[in-house]
Structure formats: structure tokens, C-alpha cells
Symmetry: C2
């Protein structure tokens, strides 16, 4: 890169913060117009985008795995989906400015709690070029400024989308120029992580190494999850007819997904009946088992699972199996070894079901449903920002609400606190008023 | 300390995490019984607590500032207030297990979003011994385990309260022994900050140096604020009769408070009329002014404010003053130099008021009311955990809701994701159901 093009990261972030203040003030009609313009620009420039994408495909053919390469490909159908996604976000109700509560503190002294954008969000994602327009649309609708870093494989594709952003600024005068910035390098990302005064939230979307390294290296809140060590527990009172299809769905419907299971727990009372069914179903689905000693007693050809297996996210067709004496031990196993992401029980006993749902300390806990349902689209959240295993801010699948904060407003008539303290203090009324 | 008493911090935190899982399952009746027991224990042992507190007072008399020493004193009236505070928390509705939303994903596949405790909260506080029982009661009601570190000045008083916790375990068998732990040393606190797997949230309550050092040294979310650089802006269309009492309340009603103002902004059109009023009101209230060059033109004896003043939280009776050409410049000043804590405008013009309330990027923004109203009790939140300038999790004054997270539950009938994808995918219904 030409040294004169070298960007001072702090100057970029400062501009993002300034832009965030303008973004927060946009009316919904302006945001709808902007999203419309962005969708139209992409529609008009499909050929340009495909040509940019082709450069990436040429650069990385036979250099990355086939599945990564497939995800790197843009085609007219995928771009139409992207355009439709932007128009769907456009048509959502404005998430900003919603009144969450109203309270009279005293006559003529009204407190309101109202949704606002978070401010500036740093988003780091890998390879897939369709992530960028999705993030742009969610950020725009929620009034946030964004600082982005895409995967190097999608370098030209991402620049193609960013050229639409430049045209968006020209066509929509209300859009502040620092709204969306694409960083060039990993070193810029690491610098960004040292500026909590400019970046309010970081969302890493990618490999667990990426997520873990970001979580460990910043004091800025990070929305996401590093690990997806998920479990299915087959209870003594499970409907075993459902069990094998559920195991296969949880493990093999998409083995690389974070909400696929890694460990199957089986109540000892059904082990003898269920093991042959499991053996045959997993063999059919090309699932490779590792078992505890009890499991090996029933299925002697099974490889032994070690302590490390209970902690491991295989991300492939390997499944560890452990026989447990009761639901309590299943819950203890999950809370100890799991990643608090998504865990499920199969049971017909409602009491056992509720014990499991309450006792398992995970973002998503299911009874009689596949762990693979843990997903923003399936939950009906609209576009998904990511799945969080944090316990603060946002937990589980997160939609646009993950990009929101709130502020308190008071409208008064000149009241001072001195009148509300001391011996003849005026009392507060603290009366709830209608919100929306 | 006897080396045999030395505690392994990771073992303590592990026990806290285990305890948090038991706490999360307590019924409200159990939590009410526990809070009742705690209140009764304190009531029975007032003499013991006063004796322990007297040790602290003996240790620190003439060694700390008079105001700190006053805050260290427990007396029967203060302890009665503590007991009443615990009983008030007892009587609040259970914050855990509230259904935030219910959605049918498909027939017989119901998604619920439900409040849960955060888990384990680390709370670091300084001197005042009445903070400890307040934190204990909020943690208990919200089902959280807590790891605490109090100020060394209140060492014996805090141990006195912790001896009640020990008795609480004996009298309430459902309380897990690791529920509340008091750390001995600052080095234990620093070790704790390195265990995000055990501590879900840190709440520092104390000096800004304490808060800043904690925020900078951990990847665990921190709820709080380091700085309180708050502003009052007197608009061209302000009712100047209210102005001087508002300035005095914002600055001098309690100058050390985080929500007291540091900078007064004045519209240039009212400067000439208001400056003499300000001069006399601040002289009466013993407030010391520092002014911009324009201010000095009206009040020539005023010390000059430098760039550094606009960033400074004095915490005393110093007030910087700047004359601005319009409300937009006031907003820009506040967003640039402020700490996004609490800022207010005095104006009779509703349009200007709304421009200020929307444009100022702070947790609390007020029109025609003192910044000193930014407080959990005054907001009607019940007991206050702290005031947050974060934009994630909780912002502004935070009550018990700051100790809550949520989980998603699905109750199904054996559904698998494979049926909802592909060419003949079953559609989701995504129908909102009544929640509470």
C-alpha cells in the first residue's frame, strides 16, 4: 500500500464516533430511503460485483477448502437474496426511539426510558461476502456506525460492496461519511480493540480461534461465542422412536454448526434398549462414536472417550457418548463441561423436562427439539447478528436488538433535588405511566 | 494471616459458580425466607455489629478524612435502615423466571424467553459498611452468587456481616455455602479479574481510580462509570428565574456526587443578562468559577478555563463556564468532552429541548431538571447497584435488573431441523403468544 494512503486508526475511529451521533438522529423515513438506495445500487451494479467476486475466486481457487470456496462465490441468485434481505430490513419497524417505560417521578417530572443505537460497533467476519451487506443493513436500520474487517479471501468482493456505500453517501445527503468503514489489516483490528472510547461493542463472526483471541485481548464488550459444546440427553422416559432421528439431526444435519451436539448423554435405564438403535442410526449417518466405559460395555467396538472429549467441540461427525444415572447427573455434566450454548433433553416426563430446562445453565435449553433450532432466523428474530454465550447484554441468538442500548430522559419544570431531601423532603410519586 | 488459612482463589470461584447453579433454582418463598432470616439475624446481633464497627472506628480515627470516617460509622438507626432495606427487597416480586416473550415457532414448538440470574457477580466497594448487606440482599433476591471485596477501613464491620451469612447457611438449608464470599486482599481481586469463566460481571463501587483500574485490567464486563463530567446548558430561551437555583443544585447540593455538574454552558444571547445572576448565586453558594475568554469578558475576575478543564471532574465546588453560540454547539461540546453520564438543558423552547435530549449521547439527559436526579432511588428503581456509562447490558442508574440475564427455552414434540430446510421445507409460523 502507498504510504500516503496509510490510515491513522484513531482518526478513523474518531470519525466513526462523530458519525454515530448523526446516525442516532436519523428519522426512520431517512433510514428507509438509505436502505432502498443501497438495495437499488446493488441491483444496478450486479455485474460489477460479480466481476470483483471473480477476482477473489481467481485468487483463491484451489487455495482454500472446497466448502470455504463455495461460500466465497457470489452469483446473481445470491445477490438477489442479499437485495431482498436489505429490503426486508428496510420494512421492519424502527427499533430506535421506542419508549420502554414511562414513570412520573413527581407532578411535572416525567422519566422515560427509550431505545437508542449502541453507537459504534466493530464487526470482524471471515470469508463469506454476503455478510457485509447484511451487517450494513442492520447497522443502518439501528442507527449505528460500523467499523468492519472482512476476510482476506473476500477482499475484492467487500471492496465492491463498499463502493456502493460511497455512492450511498452521494445519493443520500443525510448519511454521515464516517458511517461504515472497512479496515485493511489485522493490525488495524488489534489497534481498534484498544480504543474502548470509540468502539462500544465488538462482534466477531468466524472461527473459534478468531473469537477467543478477540475476547481475550480487549476490554470492549464482545458479543459472540468461542465454543459450541452442546449436548442432547436421552432420559429414562424418552420416546425412543424419536431418539435416533433427533440424535442424527442434532449431530449430522450440519456438523460444523455451533449448535450441533458434541456429546450424547443417555440415562442408564434406557441404555440397553437404545444402544443398538443408536449404533445403527449413527452408522447410517456416518457418525463416529467415542464412549465412556459403560457405553463400551454395550458397544464394544466404540473408541474410548477421555476427559478431554467432554470438553471438545469436534465440529465434525464425531460424537462422544456417556451413560448417566439420572437427569441430575446429566445437568451437572452439561454445566461442567459444556459451553453454555444450547442443550436439549428428550423426555416424556414433564417434571424431568422442567428440571432440565431450569437446571441447565445455557443460553438455549430445549425439551424434545433439536439443538439445531438455536438460530436467529428459526427463532423469528429476523437477521441474526450472532449467537452469544455471554450473560450480559445479549444471550443466545441475537437479532437487531443486540445493536441497541437505551437512555433515560427526564422532562421537568425546573425541579431541584434539594427539595426532595432532608427533613421536609417532597416525596416522589413514582407512578407508572403508559409507555407505547 | 496464617498460611493454612490461605485460600486458592480458583477454588473459591469454582465453588461460587457451583453455588450460582443452586441459587438460580431457588423458589421465591425460599429467597423470602432467607432474606427474613438475614434481617432477623442482624436485628438480633446489633450489639455484635456495633462492637465490630467500633474496632474499625478505633483503627481509623484521625487516619482518614472526616467525611470518610462519618460514612464508616454504624449506629442503631443505620442498622435499622439496613434491616428495613433487606425487608423491602424481600417483598419485591421475584425478578427471576419472568417470561419476557413467548412465540410459537410451529405447532407444538414453543419458544420462551425468560429472566435468569447472571450467575456470579464480583463486587468491589470501598469503606461504607452498609453497602455489604444491601448487596447481599439484592444478590439473594436475584439468585446470584457474589464474590465481594470491601474497603480495608470497614474490615471488622464486614466480617461482622459475613458472620450473619454463616448463620444464614445454618438456618436456611437451601442456601449453598458458596453463595457469598468475602475476599481478603486486593491481590485476590486482581486474580479474580482473570477468571471470566467464573465471574460474569464485575461491579466496582468507589473512586474513579478504582473503577478505571478494574475496567482496564479485565475482559469481564464491568458495570459502572469511571468519570462523571456532567453539564448544564442554559439556553437562549431559558427561564432565568429558575437558572441560578438549578446551577447551585446541580453543582453544590452534593459536589462530590458523580451526577453533579462540572461545566456550565450558556447561550451567548443570555450571557449578558445571566452572568451577574450567576456571579452572585455562585458566590453565595461558595462555588468557584473558571471561564472561557467570553465568560471572562463579562466576569473579569474569573480564572481562565483551559482545554483540560472541559475534561475534568473536579468533585468539589469548582465549576467551569463556557459561552456557546447555540444549542448545537452545546451538544457538540457535551458529546466531545463529557463522560456520557448525565447532562441537562434549561429551556422553554420544546424544539430546542428535544434536539438536546436526542442529540446528547448520555445515559441520562434532562430538560428543566437537576442532573442530581440521576439516581436509582429517585428513578424509582429500588436499591441501586450503581450508575453505568456503558452502552451494553445496563446504562444509567441500575437496579436489580442489572443482575439479570435471560435464557431461551423451547418445548417441542421431537421436531428436527431437517424438516424445516430444503426444497419442501416446513414453514415456521412465528406467531407471538401472550407472555405474562
Amino acid at each position: 500500500m502507498n504510504p500516503s494512503q496509510k490510515k491513522d486508526i484513531e482518526a478513523i475511529l474518531y470519525k466513526s464516533r462523530e458519525a454515530s451521533h448523526e446516525m442516532a438522529l436519523l428519522r426512520d423515513s431517512q433510514k428507509r430511503d438509505s436502505l432502498d438506495t443501497l438495495a437499488n445500487l446493488i441491483e444496478q451494479e450486479i455485474e460489477h460485483l460479480l466481476a470483483e467476486n471473480q477476482k477473489d475466486l481467481n485468487d483463491y481457487q484451489n487455495k482454500i477448502s472446497e466448502s470455504l470456496f463455495q461460500r466465497l462465490i457470489l452469483n446473481p441468485a445470491k445477490i438477489q437474496q442479499i437485495i431482498q434481505g436489505i429490503r426486508d430490513v428496510r420494512d421492519q419497524p424502527d427499533p430506535v426511539g421506542r419508549i420502554l417505560s414511562r414513570r412520573e417521578l413527581d407532578e411535572g417530572l416525567i422519566l422515560e426510558k427509550q431505545t437508542v443505537p449502541i453507537g459504534v460497533v466493530g464487526i470482524i467476519f471471515e470469508s463469506r461476502p454476503d455478510v457485509l451487506p447484511q451487517i450494513l443493513s442492520l447497522a443502518l436500520k439501528s442507527g449505528n456506525a460500523v467499523v468492519l474487517k472482512g476476510g482476506h479471501e473476500a477482499y475484492h468482493s467487500n471492496l465492491g460492496f463498499m463502493s456502493m456505500v460511497k455512492k450511498l453517501y452521494e445519493q443520500c445527503a443525510w448519511m454521515p461519511a464516517g458511517w461504515a468503514t472497512l479496515l485493511d489489516s489485522r493490525s488495524d483490528v488489534h489497534k481498534m480493540l484498544n480504543f474502548p472510547q470509540y468502539i462500544d461493542l465488538v462482534i466477531p463472526r468466524g472461527s473459534k480461534n478468531l473469537v477467543r483471541s478477540i475476547m481475550d485481548s480487549t476490554s470492549i464488550p464482545v458479543l459472540g461465542h468461542a465454543d459450541g459444546v452442546c449436548h442432547l440427553y436421552i432420559d429414562a422416559e424418552a420416546n425412543l422412536e424419536n431418539a435416533s432421528s433427533l440424535v442424527v439431526d442434532c449431530k449430522a444435519q450440519y456438523p460444523a454448526a455451533c449448535n450441533a451436539i458434541e456429546t450424547l448423554l443417555i440415562h442408564q435405564d434406557v441404555a440397553e434398549r437404545f444402544m443398538p438403535i443408536l449404533d445403527s442410526a449413527t452408522a447410517d449417518a456416518n457418525i463416529h462414536l467415542r464412549g465412556c466405559p459403560e457405553t463400551q460395555r454395550f458397544l464394544p467396538n466404540t473408541e474410548a472417550a477421555t476427559e478431554k472429549d467432554w470438553h471438545t467441540e469436534y465440529g465434525d461427525r464425531t460424537l462422544s457418548v456417556r451413560i448417566v444415572p439420572n437427569v441430575s447427573e446429566a445437568i451437572i455434566h452439561i454445566n461442567r463441561y459444556g459451553s453454555h450454548h444450547t442443550d436439549a433433553i428428550l423426555t416424556l416426563n414433564v417434571e424431568t423436562q422442567e428440571q432440565f430446562l431450569n437446571g441447565v445453565d445455557s443460553a438455549s435449553v430445549f425439551a424434545n427439539a433439536s439443538t439445531r433450532f438455536a438460530d436467529g432466523f428459526r427463532y423469528g428474530l429476523g437477521a441474526e447478528l450472532g449467537i452469544s454465550t455471554n450473560r450480559t447484554h445479549a444471550r443466545g441468538p441475537v437479532g437487531v436488538e443486540g445493536l441497541l442500548s437505551y437512555k433515560f430522559k427526564i422532562r421537568g419544570e425546573g425541579q431541584i433535588v434539594a427539595d426532595y431531601v432532608g427533613d421536609d423532603a417532597r416525596p416522589f410519586t413514582h407512578r407508572e405511566l403508559d409507555s407505547e
